[in-house]
C-alpha cells in the first residue's frame, strides 16, 4: 500500500510512521530530510521548494511501485513539502515498513536517492546576501 502526497503545510512525522505500521511488520525505516543551515560555507536563511505537483506525485508513485517489485515491503509513504522552509524544518518524510529490516533500509534508501534524481521538485537556497536555485551535483 502506498501513500504519496505533497503538502504546503508542515509534515507530521508521527502520523507518517503510524500510517506504515502493520501487525506483519518487523521494522520501519524512516528518512527525514531537514533544512541545513549552510551550503559550501554560506549561511542558509531558508529554502523555497517548488513542485510540478501532478507530475511529482506521478513520479513518486512510480518510484514506490518500483520498490514493491524490488523488495518485500509492506507499506510505503512519501510526503514532500512545497513552499518556504526554515532551518530545521522537514521537506520530506519517507517511511517504509517490512517484515525484515534489510528490505526496509534498502527500499527507503532507494526512494530518497531516486526522488533526488527524477521527481520534478526544485529548491532555491536563500542566503543572507542572495538566492540561488540548487543544481544537483554531476
Amino acid at each position: 500500500m502506498l501513500e504519496i502526497k505533497i503538502f504546503s503545510e508542515p509534515l507530521n512525522i508521527q502520523s507518517c510512521i503510524d500510517w506504515v505500521m502493520t501487525d506483519e511488520s518487523g521494522g520501519i525505516d524512516v528518512f527525514i530530510g531537514t533544512v541545513r543551515n549552510a551550503t559550501k560555507g554560506k549561511k542558509v536563511v531558508r529554502l523555497e521548494f517548488e513542485a510540478y505537483e501532478t507530475m511529482a506525485v506521478n513520479e513518486m508513485r512510480r518510484i514506490a511501485e518500483d520498490i514493491v517489485t524490488k523488495w518485500p515491503v509492506h507499506k510505503i509513504l512519501i510526503h514532500h513539502r512545497t513552499g518556504l522552509l526554515k532551518v530545521g524544518e522537514v521537506p520530506v518524510v519517507i517511511a517504509v515498513s517490512a517484515a525484515h529490516r534489510n528490505a526496509a533500509f534498502d527500499a527507503c534508501r532507494y526512494a530518497i536517492d531516486t526522488i533526488k534524481q527524477t521527481v520534478p521538485i526544485w529548491k532555491k537556497e536563500v542566503f543572507e546576501d542572495g538566492e540561488e536555485w540548487v543544481t544537483p551535483n554531476p
Binding site: 511529482a56 533526488k116 527524477t118 520534478p120 521538485i121 526544485w122
Partner: protein, 80 residues
Amino acid sequence: MTINILAFGIAKEILGGAVAGVNVAEGVAVEDLKGKLEQQFPRLRELKSFMIAVNGAYAKPGQMISSNDEVAIIPPVSGG
C-alpha cells in the same frame, strides 16, 4: 500552433514566467521543441540539461507534441 510551456525552478526565471508561448509546427517532436526553446531563450543552454515533460511524464526525444498536450520544461531537479 502555439504551445503554452509550463516552467518551474530556474526555467521559470529564464522564460520570464510560469507559462510561455512558443510557436511551433503542428506535431513537432520533443527534440525540435527543445532546439526552438534554446533559440528563443538562450540561457537554457547554460543549464547542465533540461527535459521536456508531456502530460505529466518525461517525454522521449522523438515523441510528437500536439496542441492540446500539457508541456513543461523540467530543469535539473533538486527535491528531497
